[in-house]
């Protein structure tokens, strides 16, 4: 498959996901995790870091892509949006871990878009531990809606919150999770 048809496919999945199609969103994230893994492994290899760090970054970027998906403009190509997030998170990682960005030539052109890489390692992140650090409310709604797969209505009934409060709480919780992951990796 060439880059152009990959772009068309990913963009289609993204737009469907934005419209609320969960299967398309899952397919998109699965495809992207392969691409991102290849990208980060290549980048980290040059500074002597291993696949666990690459997996951490893959997950951080997936969460960023998910929680910031409202910043994607449906009239624009998808790949530059996705790689801009990946590069931003990579540069942020370098800054956090005190590696000079000058030492690492970052690929401007996402030539790796055609490569794919499947997961063999787990990230160093412990979801249970991270969830424990969230506020009780966010932890509970994420548990209900995102892990147990309850509908928003069911979660609202169980937790005694309104449906919109559940939605807001889940969204904030995911963002807080992304923040925790960043902090975890700094220490």
């Amino acid at each position: 498959m060439d880059i152009r048809s990959i772009e068309t496919e990913l963009r289609g999945l993204m737009i469907a996901g934005l419209a609320g199609d969960a299967a398309a969103h899952r397919a998109l994230l699965e495809r992207l995790s392969g691409q991102l893994r290849a990208y980060f492994k290549g980048q980290l290899n040059r500074i002597g870091r291993g696949p666990v760090e690459a997996e951490d970054l893959v997950q951080e970027v997936l969460i960023a892509i998910h929680t910031r998906r409202h910043t994607y403009d449906r009239s624009q190509p998808f790949t530059p949006w996705m790689y801009a997030i990946a590069r931003y998170k990579f540069l942020d990682y370098l800054r956090r871990t005190k590696v000079s960005a000058a030492d690492v030539p970052i690929d401007e052109v996402p030539e790796l878009a055609v490569h794919d890489d499947s997961a063999h390692v787990e990230s160093s992140l412990d979801l249970k531990k991270l969830l424990a650090e969230l506020s009780p409310r966010a932890r509970q709604t994420i548990q209900y809606v995102k892990l147990d797969g309850l509908s928003v209505r069911e979660a609202a009934a169980r937790s005694g919150m309104s449906e919109s409060a559940v939605k807001v709480s889940v969204h904030r919780g995911l963002k807080a999770l992304a923040r925790l992951i960043r902090e975890e990796k700094r220490s």
């Binding site: 419209a19 969103h25 530059p80 997030i85 995102k146």
Partner: protein, 213 residues
Amino acid sequence: MKTDRLIDMLSTNLEPIKEGRLKGTLVWALVVGGAAAFCLMLTTVGLRTGVAEGYLPGYVALKLLFTLSLIGVGAALLDRLMRPGQDGRKLFAFVFLPFFIVICAGVASLVFGQPMAWGRMIFGMQWATCLLCIPLFAVVPFAALIWALRKGAPTNLTRTGAIAGLVAGALGATAYAFHCPDDSVPFIAIWYGTLVALCGAVGAMLGPRLLRW
């Protein structure tokens, strides 16, 4: 954690995203910031003669032309800068255009004016008030813009901060223009131009700290 598990979690109970929400946030910040700056102007220095009587003197219109064109270009740029993968490179040059024009016009009016009047044209009556008010009026708009930009995902934090500062400064200057009694083009070029640019420089410094995500 396995990445598959994360993907499961993220795609469970997916919420649809409404189009144009981000743009709405930005417009909201501009309106709230601008209104706050205007109210602050009313309660501190008040309207100038002419505006208070209900008409728009030519010099006020000229000042507004400068500040509103900056706000227009700046807001269009922010709308791009808060989205990854769009750097608004083509638009960026247009930010400098209002400055360039007002500086040229200022120099021209000094050259064609009488040297005797230069002091008055440059310093006017209230240069010190201007110096104080524009940055002061820009504070709330800047906070509102940063709030809006944090809802987006800017990837060039220095540049985004600079444009946010510039737009906030221009909003402050817009509010001040309704008070400003100094009617000369060199005054606009020097005081308005410098102060708005200064707000942009402060924004560029604060951007990386305030906009990280």
